[in-house]
Structures are given as C-alpha cells and as structure tokens.
Amino acid sequence: MRAWLLRRVAAGIAIIFAAVSLTFVAIHLAPGEPFLPPDERPMDPAVVARLRRNYGLDRPLPVQYLRYVTQLAHGELGESFSQRRPVAQAIAAAVPNTLLLTITALAIDFTLGIAIGLYQAARARRRSDAALANVTLFFYSLPTFWLALVLQLVFGLWLGWFPTGGSTDPVLHDSLPLFGRVVDRLYHLALPALTLGLVGAGGTARFQRAALLEALGHEYVRTARAKGLAESAVLIRHAWRDALLPVISLAGVALPFLLTGAVLIETVFSWPGLGKLAADAISARDYPLVLGTTLLATCAVVTGSFIADVLTAAADPRVRLTA
C-alpha cells in the first residue's frame, strides 16, 4: 500500500511538472505578446518595454523558465499581467465557482446517467431502451458549447426561466438574506451545470447500461434469481454493485473532461470560474495566469484519478492497491 502510494505521488508530481513545463514553452512560443491592447489606443512602446523588463520577459526563455520553476518551488505563482493582482488571488476567487459548477455537473451527470443506465438495463432490448439509447447517444455526441448556446437561447432568452450569464444577480445579490443568496446562486448555476451534466450523463448512462448488462449475465446473478429474490433486488443489490465499479473509475476520468468542458461553458455563460479565467488569460497572453490555471487543473486531474483508484479499491475487495 505504502509503495503504491509513493509511486502514485511521484508519478503525479512528474505529470504536474511535465504539464507545467510544456505549457510554459507552448505559451511563450505562441505568437502574440502581453501588454498589447487590441484595437484601442496602443500602449507607449517604452512602457511595454519597461513592463516586459519588470516581469522578466526580456530575459532568454531558459532563464525565465528557471526563474518560474524556482518561484514555484517557493509557492509563488507570480502576478497576473491582465488582472494586475497575484495569480493566487485570481485563482482563489475562481476556484469556488468552478468547484460549484463541476461538482453540481458531476452530480447531475452521475445521478441521471446511472438512473437511465439502470432503467435501460432493466428493460433491455425493449422499445424504451432503444429510445433512451438514442437520446443518450444524442447528448453524448453533442458539442458542449453548442448545447450551451441552445439552452441559453431557449431557457435564457426565449423563455426567460434562467439567467443567460453570470454567477449572481449583481443588483440584488448583496441585499438578499442568506437563503436568497443561495437561491440566487442555484438559479444562475442551473443552465451551465445542466449543460455539463447532460452531456456527461449521456456517456455515463451508456457506460452504466453496458456494465449492468454484463453483470446480469454473471453466475452470481443467476444464483440470486434462483434463490427467488425480486428482480429489483437482483438488479440493485447484486448486479449494480458490480456494475458500479467501472462507473466509479469513470468519475476520475470525467474530471478532466469536466474541466475542459468548463472552459467552454464558463465562457458561454460568463461564469467566473477557472475555465473562463484560463480562456481570458490565453487571449491576453497572461503567462503567469495561464501557468497557474494549468497547474491547478493538472493537480485536480491527478488527484481525481488518485481518488478514483482509492474508491474503486474501497468498493471492490478484489482490487488491491499494490505497487
């Protein structure tokens, strides 16, 4: 167990280091520079030169890289060029929003996906199964941003049921009591979380259905049925537990998809989270902020995968965490 843990931690650090290094090189080699405002009044070149000097961008790339890595080793993420405040501060403000969005989306994804998968497996090869298979395939194959735009148009603009953007109502939020603030938050969360959740649920449902159908063919299920257990008990208590394991693994893999999806969703819904922060940072060539968000996303993915492994081991006594 300890050897497995050490190995996973070492691999995790290596992955994080590689991701940050690759991003560092990629963003610095990308065309375009920070401090060059578009279309508006361009900054005085002397000021741009001074800013570049202040932030060390006039130094050779290897020197900048070493400086960044040293800074990182001291827990410093640097200062954002575009937000003009420490990167850690900008990220700290965005993380709760992204966590709220992705956790809610994950809850929608798995609750809905597992429920549909269960329903389909219980009615395998019937008309309702086929219909749901088409529906889940439809959502699974939808581009996230497209679904976001459609939901925004229909439920935000046409029907006016939900806000089209933002995370709170800027006029009312501060004057609301605590309960009102929670309602306001959930109200703004609805469309972005539903978008991410629906696309994920399409995949989860298909995965769950396949895993359940496989589990239902096992000997122990036949034994359970032979013992005279009700079909629902066979499905839920016996087959489902077995079929849940691949879905739990899927949760770990789902995190990167949710984070990348969040970049698009947060941009479409002006949701002030990590994804929008990263997209804006890339547009502004805000190197420290791009690196900071990459670092955090990589850590989240590595941690998610680690948690999924631990959960799988907890759910399945056959799995042992060994090196």
Partner: protein, 540 residues
C-alpha cells in the same frame, strides 16, 4: 413586430420575482423618489485598471468617466476649436491671460470622494503624471504643446503653451482626468500600471467606487452631494459579459439595461424587436481599413514587393466595391469614408470629398496584367471583419489577385503589426474627437501607429496646415486637401465608418449619449418614479 417568445419571457419570471421579494425583506428598499434607479450596463470586456492615466480600453473609460472629472468637457456640438461650447466640470471658469497662457479657476465646492478638497495642486500633479514617460500614458503625446502647469493658489492653476493653435483649450482639458495628488503622490510611478488605486479608485466625479468583483461586476454609487448636482441614478453596475454577443444577449434577456454598441444589423434587428428596449443611434468614433505594409514583410530595410508600388495600391482601392460591401455587411449602419475618418467627425463629412468609386477596368489597367499575391491578417474575434476580408478576397480574385486570409487573435495581430511581419492587415481604430491627433499618428511619416511605414510629404504638410487652421472652415478645407492627397497615393483601403447604435431599457429616461465617451452623460439619465421596478428599489 414582437417575437412570439417575448411574452412568455416576461411572464416566466417567478424565480427572479422571488429574489426581488427576498431582497425587499431585508435591504433598505422602499426608495420611491427621482433618485432611486439602478442601471446595469453589459460590458464587452473587463477593465484592467480604473486609473485613467494608464487605462487604454473603452470599458475602462466608460467606468472611470463616472468617477473622475476633467477641468471642462466638450459640449454637445462636439467642437474642439477654441473654448466656446466647452462645459465646465472641475473648473468653474477660465480666461486667457495672454495668447499662450490659460488660467483655470477651480470650483471651490469640488471634493474628492474621501472628503478632501480638489485643489490646483491636484491639476499640476495630474499634468506631471500624464507627461511622465515612466507612467506611460497614451495621452502623453497630446500634451506636448503644454510647457507647464502651475498652481497659483489652491483654486487657480495656470497652463503655459509652447505655441498657438486652435485646439489649445481642447488639449488642456480633454485628455486629463484630474487625479488626487494626496493619494497618488507616494505611489511609485513605475508601478502605476498595477497600482492598487486602479482597483479601488477615489475620484471627484458624480459616482464613487463601491466594489469590483473580478470577472463579474463593478458597482458605483451616486454621490448624493455632488457639486455638479445629484445624479438621478442611484447605482451603476457594469456586468462583465466577456464579448459582444454575450452582452447583447444579457440586454435582450433583461439581465442588463444597456449596451453601448450593437454593431451588427442582426443585433440591431433583435434589439429593435424587443419592446423593452429603445435604440439610440449616434455617430461612431471608429473607422475600419486595410493597411498596406510598404516595407517587406519582416524586413523593414527593403520595399514591399507589392505595396511599395503606388499604382498597385491605387488599383486595390479601385477594385474594391466598398459601398456594396458596406451594404451587405452593415445595411444602413455604415458609410464608406472618403478618408481615414469616423462618423464622429461629422463636420468633415460635409466636404465635397467622395470615396474613390469602384472602377475595375482602371484597376486592371494599373495592374498591367501582373499576378499578385499577399497575406491579409484579420482578427478572428471580429466576425464582421472576417466577412469583409472574404468579400475583398473574392473581389480581388476576379482581377487575378490572390489574397490569403490569416485569421489571428488580437495579441498576435498587434505583435505582427509592431514587428512589421505582415503584408496587409484589416484593422479598426478608435479616434479622438479631432483628426489632429489620430490622423498623423496612423498615417503620418513619424506616427507611432504608422505600422505600414507610409510616407507622403505632401500629405504630412497638409495635415500640419489642417491641424493649425484657425477656424473649423479653414480646417475643413485643409483636411479635404490632405485626404485628397492620400487618395492619390493610398496607404490602404478605407472600408467603412460605423454608425453606432446603443440599446437602453425603455424605463430609463433622458438618455443622452456622448459619441466620444459613450456613457459620459449617464449622470443626466433618470428613471421616473412611476417606472421604477422592485430591482431599482432594492439594494444597498
């Protein structure tokens, strides 16, 4: 016609209504007077700083124009000649002591939002800051004619000029928002670009800064004791939408009350169909053009193989069917400019100048059967400019000219322009209220934004004459000659000058839009008591 979906949208607002009720349960609410309104602006971007001296973008200007004041502001006629028509702001009055000396008397009632009085020392400090290369203000060059600004006493400040010219008063007042010396004096100027003051500014304008939630919103509150009069709107909120489409969507969904530009005919049509909105057309301060690089792509020491030849440049102007393109993309909301000019300079549109007409036959003659090819860089974030590039590509293809469109993001486009690594670029430029600064800056031989290295001595001389013309009539004639010279030896193709259209919620009355500073007159807007909604009444 009201779209079918408009009605259910208005009805299906149970949850927002619940929020309003909840808000009413707690906040002070109950405001029913003339001074209760809240207006939410949909912002297409987020400011980096609200310190005016280092701000560069339109959204930054929109916000800091409410927080800071100038000595005097351009009047409704938009005149920049002499001082007639200018409206007093921090300066109560002024006089010319001699032709090169201008004395301002500050309004003794003016106060900073922290309670300190606004003094002549603040004005002198502001000039010093705007002129300081360490601060790096974009307006520094515009103050080059002023030799000194000195405080005589706490309320009297004297500007001395290097030379005499018609826009002396404009230069003294337009470019600088007066800054609080007592709060900024000890902040090292090299750090002003990132100073904390820029995230929580203290000004002397009709609105004071309340809060800035990064990525979400900026809130200002009316200064109810402001010396220029109490603003009618109690709260102003800028909601960060991120881009034009999101901003327009927010306004159409009723989540914001105003958006300053709609840009595309489709957005204008959608806003017009919404009965909750009223549209306000106003003269645009932007013009869009294709700039030719007269030096070789990436090597400034050599002439460009295509664009160094004035005949080819002229042929490219003649071959572009600009009126048709403007009609196709913008309908009635754009004009083809006869020179590098936005619609904001309305007096220049009254000249006899006309855009070079389409003449494909003449263009073909000038090309002498040469097969040309060049790359055109276009910002990928602007669908209208991408569409224009494609239309140009098609028109030039018929003459045997191969245009390769390179869609790049804005930082890349700016970098390519500054490094000279481009053949031609499709750009827009936001101008000042006068051509005297932006025309030479873009097209003059030594202009800081003359990225195409255009050089035309005759044009430069005519621009100098125009900028020094004593009256608007004389200036009009001189600019006409300058633009005629430019048309003979074109530095690019002037494509279109937009008519801006703003959309504002109908419950807001007395909406006036200042073309050079869109929300500059918000302090005059109001929401009549009978139009107030619960959202207006709720709040701090």
């Amino acid at each position: 016609m009201t779209p079918a979906f408009a009605r259910p949208r208005r009805i299906a607002t149970l949850l927002p209504a619940l929020l309003v009720v909840l808000a009413g349960c707690r906040g002070p609410g109950g405001c029913t007077t003339e001074y209760c309104g809240t207006v939410v602006f949909a912002a297409t971007g987020e400011p980096s700083t609200l310190l005016p001296v280092v701000s560069t973008s339109a959204v930054e200007r929109d916000v800091h124009d409410q927080i800071f004041l100038k000595l005097a502001e351009i009047g409704p006629d938009g005149g920049t000649f002499g001082d007639s028509g200018f409206v007093p702001e921090l300066a109560r009055s002024w006089e010319w002591t001699d032709p090169l000396t201008l004395t301002f008397h500050l309004d003794p009632r003016a106060r900073w939002h922290d309670g300190a009085p606004v003094t002549a020392a603040d004005v002198a400090f502001t000039f010093d800051a705007y002129s300081d290369s360490v601060v790096g203000s974009g307006d520094r060059a515009s103050l080059g004619h002023i030799t000194s600004v000195a405080a005589v006493d706490s309320l009297t400040v004297v500007f001395k000029f290097r030379d005499r010219y018609p826009e002396m008063f404009y230069d003294a007042t337009y470019h600088m928002r007066i800054l609080p010396a007592h709060l900024l004096r000890n902040v090292p100027r090299a750090t002003w670009q990132t100073a904390a003051f820029g995230r929580a500014p203290v000004g002397s304008g009709p609105y004071r800064f309340v809060s800035w939630t990064p990525g979400q919103s900026i809130e200002l509150a009316a200064d109810s004791t402001h010396f220029l009069g109490r603003p009618h709107l109690r709260r102003l909120i800028w909601r960060v939408a991120g881009n034009l489409n999101s901003a327009v969507t927010m306004v159409l969904a009723g989540e914001a009350d105003a958006v300053e530009v709609l840009v595309t005919p489709d957005n204008i049509r959608r806003a017009r169909a919404d009965t909750a909105l009223r549209l306000y057309p106003y003269a645009g301060s932007t013009y869009t053009f294709v700039r030719f690089n007269l030096r070789a792509n990436g090597d400034r020491s050599k002439p460009h193989p295509v664009f160094a030849d004035p005949e080819i440049r002229r042929a490219l102007v003649l071959a572009a069917d600009r009126p048709r393109m403007a009609q196709t993309v913008f309908g009635e909301y754009a004009k083809v400019p006869p020179g590098p000019m936005p619609q904001l300079w309305s007096w220049l549109w009254k000249t006899t100048l006309a855009p070079t007409p389409l003449d494909s036959a003449q263009a073909a003659r000038l090309l002498h059967g040469r097969r040309l090819s060049f790359h055109l860089i276009v910002p990928s974030t602007s669908p209208t400019r991408v569409q224009y590039a494609q239309l140009l590509q098609e028109q030039y293809r018929r003459l045997g000219i191969d245009v390769v469109i390179d869609q790049v993001d804005n930082p890349t486009l700016q970098q390519q322009l500054e490094s000279g690594k481009f053949d031609a670029s499709l750009e827009s430029f936001v101008t000042d209220p006068t051509p005297s600064s932006s025309v030479p800056a873009l097209w003059g031989r030594d202009g800081p934004q003359n990225y195409g290295h255009y050089a035309n001595d005759k044009f430069d001389a005519l621009v100098r004459t125009a900028a020094g013309a004593p009256t608007r009539g004389a200036a009009q004639a001189a600019w006409e000659s300058a633009f005629a010279a430019l048309a003979q030896d074109p530095p690019g193709v002037m494509l279109y000058a937009l008519d801006n259209v703003a959309a504002v919620n109908r419950r807001v009355a007395d909406v006036r839009i200042q073309p050079d500073s869109w929300w500059g007159l918000v302090r005059t807007w109001r929401i009549p008591p009978d139009q107030l909604t619960e959202r207006d009444r709720a709040g701090r």
